[in-house]
């Protein structure tokens, strides 16, 4: 029943249709994509303007790639995101194993709350809290390296990595692990041969989300990054105060492309089950 096309021919009554909804929905999609499309189009503008089209050109991409600051910020972003992804995904996988498919135990609600804490507290609040906390540590130890940035990113990536892994675990039947134990697999073998392979799509999806989230972060990074530790988003937000050239469009377009690719991958990974 649900499979049948819903848009009824003109004049025929359709239970599912509401007047005007389709128009609003189409406008909504146009609204969501028009600014991004415009941004991408003007990244190819030959002129200096981001509104007046002066012909097609790759010059702003060339200029972005040749810009040392952009290159450094990109590399730093990727380094931070990779580190945060690996560590947060491992921690989130372990946490998901400890919080799913178990009868409720004392402290479980507290654990849920703590893991999801970075999602519930406004980012700006976490950001200033980290600023204050890391300032104290800097005062005591004198350490000013990348450690702060790595720790902060890992922490706020954990809940994002945790969500798909937990969802996957909850979908997995416990009987498979029981079957393995019944067939002489020790707990470790059961994990290695049954749990882990079945969980892998969830883990990959979680890692993907963590990577995107770390790559995109502005607010916490802004407060935690020391001098000379600009990530790509920090570089971009710094440039927005000045006169913007299509070079920013080029950088942003590349960024959009990477995000879209990762999200597409995530979409298919989390959809493949069932």
């Amino acid at each position: 029943m649900a499979d049948r096309a819903v848009a009824a021919p003109r004049g025929r009554f359709s239970v599912r249709e509401q007047r005007g909804f389709t128009t609003v929905a189409i406008l909504c999609f146009v609204m969501l994509y028009a600014p991004m499309v415009t941004l991408v189009i003007y990244s190819f503008n030959d002129g200096n303007s981001i509104a007046v089209w002066e012909g097609f050109s790759w010059r702003w991409y060339e200029s972005a790639i040749n810009n040392r600051e952009i290159r450094q910020a990109t590399v730093r972003s990727l380094q931070v995101a990779s580190f945060a992804t690996v560590v947060s995904t491992i921690a989130a996988t372990m946490a998901a194993l400890a919080t799913t498919r178990t009868p409720p135990y004392r402290g479980l609600t507290f654990v849920y709350g703590l893991i999801n804490q970075p999602l519930m507290v406004p980012e700006i609040v976490t950001a200033v809290a980290l600023l204050v906390f890391f300032a104290i540590i800097k005062g005591f130890t004198g350490y000013t390296g990348m450690g702060y940035l790595l720790a902060a990113h890992t922490a706020f990536c954990i809940p994002f990595a945790y969500m798909p892994i937990r969802a996957r675990l909850e979908d997995m039947s416990l009987t498979l692990e029981q079957a393995a134990a019944d067939l002489y697999a020790t707990p470790w073998q059961t994990f290695l041969y049954v749990t882990l392979p079945l969980l892998l799509p969830g883990i990959l999806a979680g890692a993907m989300l963590a990577f995107v989230i770390s790559l995109d972060d502005v607010v916490i990074t802004l407060f935690v990054a020391g001098p000379g530790q600009d990530t790509l988003p920090l570089y971009v937000i710094g440039q927005l105060r000045r006169i913007v050239t299509p070079e920013m469009n080029a950088v942003s377009s590349l960024f959009l492309l990477v995000s879209a690719l990762l999200v597409t991958l995530f979409f298919f990974l989390s959809r493949r089950r069932k």
Binding site: T175, L176, Q178, A181, D182, L183, Y184, V194
Partner: protein, 378 residues
């Protein structure tokens, strides 16, 4: 332990006094605490003999699956012990018990091929690659699935998955095979085929099978012995014929087949035999449950097919008015009402040459077959 005289007699006569494979000793299992406390098993004891097809039969929630899970090691008893070949295995984790399970949902590993699934247990036991692959081929032949060896488990039918699950559990040659309602997901035709297949496999491998089902027909057709369970207790253990013909308790009589319940008075009783007077005044010989010498008012059961209608009267111990006739093809059910408004059903085979045309409203005599009256404990 409750075992019917007849069951034991049958076992002895068959010359099958076998050793005990699994001994369940005073096992109690309680889930939850306080308000949520549920007694899943209430002081259960039972002995399953070696090379036996043993069935745990009961309605859902009766504790049969819990008992199976305790034997497999997925849960631990709150009290009592489980012995395998005389040794206590209660404290062993499932992967140290030489016991394998066929799960209700099969629980085949979806990320492995048919062959990998079947070889899993042997691989975990540390067997060499050669050994594993030989055993897998043997198993595939045993369940007649050789051509599907390299399929993914998602690409085979429900019946085939069932066979793979069986092969997987049999491959490590467990001492006991546990089967948790393994046929419930199959359609009727496939279920009948698998019933025969299971019997064949049990005979061929010589492994003790403990089979859990809520389907009385399945239990009666496949088992060497059946334990009927209800509300965490085992009510009666015996051969299928033993528990069908001689149910000792009202629940057993009711759960398996159709039955007429009648009030009666004991006239005389001695070691398993008794004579009872029915409310109609007629006296009939009856079988008493094991270990009980009944006195006074009792309930007796008579299976509908153990009674016969006649117009004759005379010697018949019961008579009643025919109210309703229901035709079933192979047989016909006659619904009668006895004196004192007691309902009584008679089932007679529709055999061409002695078909009589009983009409609703007639007063008819009811003859009862020899040994057909069973006295209940309660």
């Amino acid at each position: 332990m409750v075992e019917s005289v007849v069951a034991d007699a049958a076992a002895v006569s068959a010359g099958e006094r076998r050793r005990t494979a699994v001994q369940v000793q005073d096992v109690t299992k309680i889930f939850g605490t306080g308000e949520d406390r549920v007694v899943a098993l209430d002081d259960v004891s039972v002995a399953v003999r070696e090379n036996e097809f043993f069935t745990l039969l009961g309605p859902s929630g009766c504790g049969k699956t819990t008992l199976l899970r305790l034997i497999a090691g997925f849960d631990h008893p709150t009290a009592g012990a489980i012995l395998l070949d005389g040794a206590d295995i209660s404290a062993l984790p499932p992967f140290r018990r030489p016991v394998n399970t066929v799960f209700q949902s099969y629980a085949l590993f979806p990320h492995m091929t048919v062959a990998d699934n079947i070889g899993f247990g042997l691989k975990m036991q540390g067997k060499s690659k050669d050994e594993v692959s030989h055993a897998v081929d043997d198993m595939l032949r045993l369940v007649r699935m050789t051509e599907l060896k390299h399929r993914q488990t998602s690409q085979i039918s429900g019946g085939q998955q069932q066979r793979v699950a069986l092969a997987r559990a049999l491959a490590p040659h467990p001492k006991v095979l546990l089967l948790d309602e393994p046929l419930s997901a199959l359609d009727l035709k496939l279920r009948k085929e698998m019933q025969i297949e299971l019997k064949r496999l049990q005979g061929q491998t010589g492994i003790t099978f403990i089979f859990v089902t809520h389907d009385q027909e399945e239990a009666l057709t496949m088992s060497d012995r059946v334990a009927v369970m209800n509300q965490g207790r085992i009510l009666q253990v015996g051969t299928p014929r033993g528990i069908y013909d001689h149910p000792a308790e009202r629940f057993v009589a009711n759960f398996i087949g159709e039955t007429n319940f009648l009030e009666a008075d004991i006239v005389s009783a001695a070691s398993g035999r008794a004579t009872v007077r029915l409310s109609s005044g007629g006296t009939v010989p009856a079988t008493a449950p094991e270990g009980v010498t009944p006195t006074g008012r009792v309930t007796v059961v008579i299976r509908p097919e153990h009674a016969r209608l006649t117009r004759g009267g005379g010697e018949a111990p019961l008579s009643g008015r025919l109210e309703n006739v229901v035709y079933f093809g192979t047989d016909t059910h006659y619904h009668l009402r006895l004196d004192g408004d007691v309902p009584f059903v008679v089932r007679m085979q529709n055999i061409r040459d002695n078909e009589e045309d009983f009409r609703a409203g007639e007063m008819l005599a009811i003859e009862i077959a020899r040994n057909a009256v069973q006295i209940l404990k309660d």
